[in-house]
Symmetry: C2
Subunit: 380 residues, 2 copies
């Protein structure tokens, strides 16, 4: 297997609603990423998207994006893992280059949630027969986990508040973030309850966005960019599909498995991680992921937020450019936004959000109720 590097990135601001179509914003970031890499052709394109079947009535999306971007003839396939679909596209592009089947591959993520009603389509990430039929949504599943967490660990009322405060503080200087206004603990605390105990400010927003990265073999990376970022590991694991079948719903087994496999593949320790782009679709999910990866003991993840250890100067900076909460969570695009952000951090281009001496970045992407977990580790 040959090592793989990122040699170009492309992203556009996350918005509540783009007037331009799904295919247009996807093709735009494809071109931006290719421009950044200084190439006008790639061998393969892998697309991550979750909702275009329902919201745009569109399948075969990868071929459509390739056509719209003028990349006639190339390989183009779509990859799916529900809310982790962007990371799945990154992994497939990685496999294409690592195997030698492609010398240049692009992973593009796109979602346009502003067209139609996203919630029922999102819920299809859960078990249609046993969960959705009983009324479950991704929101209700996360509310369930948060209730269980509160009960088991008896945490203070404000335990999760700082996840949103941190994300919004970091989004302020990210030109691609959806929410750039300051948010205080008081705002979070007073936001309305969406589903007990989840407040609005515990939840990432419905939005539109697209992002892309270009991958090349590591030993050719400097032909395309002065600052390549290397993919040190890519791994996937799954958990029991239904939360109710898990031994301990608060221990995210797939997150633990894929993280530990990635640490082994990358030959790094948890202590080596400079920043962690966590899947903070809901604050409880960020908390549970910090525990699954081992940054905190079970029941202690919220303390990292409360004690500001997740800040840019903290022990383990998370959501360094705003996270899913404040940069926004256009589902299929999210992991590619996070990859772009990690590239900016590791190459010293994160501006006011720069994590000092950032060397190794960790990315985790969650499909459904932490059912499919993808972990990527990046380094320079």
């Amino acid at each position: 297997m040959r090592p793989v590097s990122i040699v170009g990135i492309g992203q556009i601001p996350v918005k509540k609603a783009y007037y331009r179509s799904l295919r247009e914003i996807a093709a735009q970031v494809v071109r931006l990423a290719m421009e950044d890499a200084g190439v006008d052709r790639v061998d393969a394109l892998f697309a991550g998207n979750m909702l275009s079947d329902e919201l745009q009535g569109q399948k075969q999306l990868a071929a459509l994006i390739a056509d719209e971007a003028g990349l006639y003839g190339i390989e183009a396939l779509a990859v799916r893992a529900a809310t982790a679909s962007g990371a799945a596209a990154l992994r497939m592009a990685y496999l294409a280059v690592a195997s030698g089947e492609a010398d240049l591959a692009i992973a593009v993520g796109v979602e346009k949630m502003s067209e139609g009603v996203a919630t029922p389509a999102l819920a299809k990430a859960l078990d249609a027969r046993y969960e959705v039929a009983a009324g479950a949504t991704l929101l209700s599943k996360n509310a369930e986990l948060m209730r269980l967490y509160r009960q088991r660990y008896n945490v203070p009322e404000d335990a999760f508040v700082n996840f949103a405060v941190n994300a919004h503080a970091n989004a302020r200087h990210n030109p691609n973030a959806l929410f750039r206004q300051r948010v205080t603990a008081r705002t979070v605390r007073r936001s309305r309850v969406v589903m007990e105990p989840l407040r609005l400010m515990d939840c990432s927003p419905i939005c539109d966005g697209a992002a892309a990265v270009v991958l090349a073999p590591r030993d050719e990376a400097r032909a395309y960019t002065k600052q390549p970022v290397h993919i040190l590991a890519s791994s996937v694991a799954t958990d029991r599909f239904r939360v109710s079948d898990r031994k301990d719903p608060l221990m995210l087994e797939a997150a633990r498995l894929s993280a530990f496999k990635a640490f082994r593949l990358a030959n790094v320790n948890r202590e080596d991680i400079s920043l962690y782009e966590v899947h903070d679709a809901f604050s409880i999910m960020a908390c549970l992921l910090l525990e699954a990866v081992g940054f905190a003991e079970p029941g202690q993840g919220w303390r990292l937020a409360a004690e500001k250890e997740i800040g840019l100067r903290g022990r383990i900076p998370v959501a360094t450019m705003g996270g899913l909460k404040a940069r926004g969570h256009p589902i299929g695009a999210t992991a590619l936004y996070q990859t772009c952000e990690i590239v900016l951090q590791l190459t010293g281009r994160a501006g006011k959000n720069q994590v000092k001496d950032a060397k190794i970045g960790l990315l985790q992407s969650v499909g459904g109720a932490a059912t499919t977990l993808l972990t990527h580790i990046f380094g320079v």
Copy 2:
């Protein structure tokens, strides 16, 4: 890149409607393929499916199948290329093993078209904005191509009849085929017109099915089976998305590109091909594919059928176990059925359908209106 072989296959009869659920029939073929390979664990599972979002209300299908098959914890991702989704899953499993990321991977295809109305969901393979909005379906696109072909080449009324006759003749001895009764040229000729000039017997049926194959590195293949079949090439190409944007709609550019790339990768010539599992979703598509790959000159593909050169003893046997027309075309499962059938042919286990001295098998899978094309070449 390390060479990859098929070390186990699993398939179940194609039916109009399975009482059992999508997840159950998928898990069944996963277990059958693993049994055939003599393994009780794989590293990764790649699922091909096109319609579960609409027909079963289910996303994150790969993780669901892994769970249902008892493969807790493994990597599981779904891959999409509309009607070629099964071949996309095969390619991803191939990349996972070729790259060294997985030592054993399973590609599973499944479709259950009997639940709900498949046609509008199938049409999403076309351009939602410019084709579907104007009333196009996969049926109408193929009727359009057939009209154009008839006009340009002024072929006899019966030009396409023998595609169906050949497929049905071959299905008779395939226990997994949907249609096993004999079909005469007269039956085909007299079948009702579905959309001028397409007759019912020009079209593959709506049905349910599932099939799977296990892949391993070639140099370990004999640890799992006495008769490994090697994947000599895997390639993908795309065409302009809309048929109306193509220079010549009757020259399937993506089929030509991916076939020629595959011939190069496998280091074989067209003349070396022992049998060709063609994507005969519509007889016109089979005809155009034979021309794109070069088995016939433009305008002459139908002659191969008319002159019975596509029969088991013909110059280029196609649809040797019944093809999409008569074995059936449960979309996401189709390419995996075809792979299983090629494995049976190349290992001398095709019974009454055995192609003599079969050494090299060609498989092509068509996404949408020949927009995404996957070519796989297999050898022993």
